[in-house]
């Protein structure tokens, strides 16, 4: 869970540290505080857990213990293209776990983590509400039904190509604008 913070996140973290002062130093406030931190940073980096522990006067290990218990807290920054693989009942029956495994292998990260370039993150979810299309994966708000292991590589490749094209277009426009 130790990816470097970006400059922007370091600024947000300072902002979070100031906001922390509005919370009473009471251990019952731990979860609301963690929620506030995640709302601002969109995940809980270890640097943030440290200042939360300091504020409440408890050990970091305790903060970590509480935070890891709840599904709502994440410890890795969300990728630019978050991938959600459904493992609800219908998707489970139609081997959603194999789809998840394929994404994990293709992107070389385990579920719950983010690629080092922060482009992709993989997450498992429980039912996205379109069981008739099982197994389902959601990439950046787009639902992909009837997933198959063979489709995984194509989907990721398409996103990467799209990214490259956008970059190229931006470069073409830039000289004209400046």
């Amino acid at each position: 869970m130790n990816q470097e913070l970006t400059e922007e996140e370091k600024d947000t973290l300072k902002h979070v540290a100031i906001k922390l002062e509005t919370f009473e130093k009471h251990r019952g406030n731990l979860i609301p505080i963690l929620q506030m931190v995640q709302n601002n940073l969109s995940y809980l980096p270890s640097e943030a857990l440290k200042i939360v522990a300091q504020h409440l006067g408890i050990l970091e290990s305790e903060v970590y213990g509480v935070a890891t218990f709840y599904n709502q807290f994440r410890f890795h920054p969300p990728g630019k293209y978050p991938i959600k693989v459904c493992l609800g009942t219908a998707c489970h029956v139609r081997a959603g776990d194999i789809i998840l495994e394929n994404f994990e292998r293709k992107l070389e990260i385990p579920e719950g983590q983010t690629t080092p370039d922060r482009k992709f993150s993989i997450e498992r979810v429980a039912c996205v509400g379109c069981c008739a299309l099982a197994p389902v994966a959601i990439i950046d708000e787009t639902v992909h039904g009837h997933m198959a292991p063979s489709k995984v590589e194509g989907l990721i490749l398409r996103i990467k190509l799209q990214e490259e094209m956008e970059e190229r277009e931006n470069k073409q426009h830039e000289p004209g604008q400046s």
Binding site: I58, L59, T68
Partner: protein, 214 residues
């Protein structure tokens, strides 16, 4: 005030305010237990081992959560109780690597004792084995933790908190992934882990060990 209870047709005397489990143990009546600590206000009752049947209560109850009452009639070895205990033990063993030969707690292990007492083989066949990937967690400067030996009784967490006000050890994650973790080693120095070792002593199995170099 002294109270009289009847446990397995044997009359025992004990003081008011004790838990039923403690009263039985004090009187040499053994009830299997893993997570029980004396003088803890609200026992976690998490190991599901110390079940007994009490007259007037339909279902077996964990004896660590029951305060003794006068004239209580208790049975510790009914088929219902034994079935619950054996199932709980088999479930614990299904997430345990049972590598006794290489474990420092071999022959001094509560799991082994209970398995012998309940006549359960250490390698139960009916349940699927589910082990954690990490064999040894060596992140703590003075302690090693073996997640696949841990029964998650929580004694170490409790003892540490009792002794230092805060616990370096904590439960992390959830469900099958639950582990005892120290997470951060930065403030360990201020807690004198180097010459405490209470958590290692409290561990009923061999899940915690002092590092040899320290």
């Amino acid at each position: 005030m002294m109270l009289k209870l009847l446990v397995d047709n044997q009359e025992i005397e004990t003081r008011e305010g004790k838990t039923l489990l403690q009263a039985c143990l004090d009187n040499q009546i053994y009830i299997p237990n893993l997570c029980y600590l004396e003088n803890v206000e609200r026992p976690s009752a998490s190991c599901r081992m110390c079940f007994v049947e009490i007259e007037g209560i339909k279902q077996p109850v964990p004896s660590c959560t029951v305060q003794v009452r006068d004239e209580m009639v208790v049975k510790t070895d009914t088929p219902g109780v034994r079935q619950l205990q054996r199932t709980a033990l088999r479930l614990l063993l299904s997430v345990h690597d049972v590598d006794c030969k290489n474990c420092h707690a071999n022959k001094n292990c509560e799991l082994q004792n209970i398995a012998k007492f309940l006549k359960v083989g250490l390698k139960p066949k009916r349940l699927e084995r589910y082990l954690k990937e990490t064999q040894i967690d060596e992140t703590h400067p003075f302690l090693n933790h073996y997640p696949n030996r841990c029964v998650l009784c929580g004694k170490c967490v409790h003892i540490c908190r009792g002794k230092h006000g805060q616990s370096v050890l904590t439960f992390a994650k959830r469900g099958f992934d639950t582990v005892i973790s120290t997470y951060s080693v930065t403030d360990v120095s201020s807690l004198a882990c180097s010459d405490c070792g209470s958590c290692v002593k409290a561990c009923p199995v061999g899940a915690l060990a002092l590092k040899e170099s320290s």
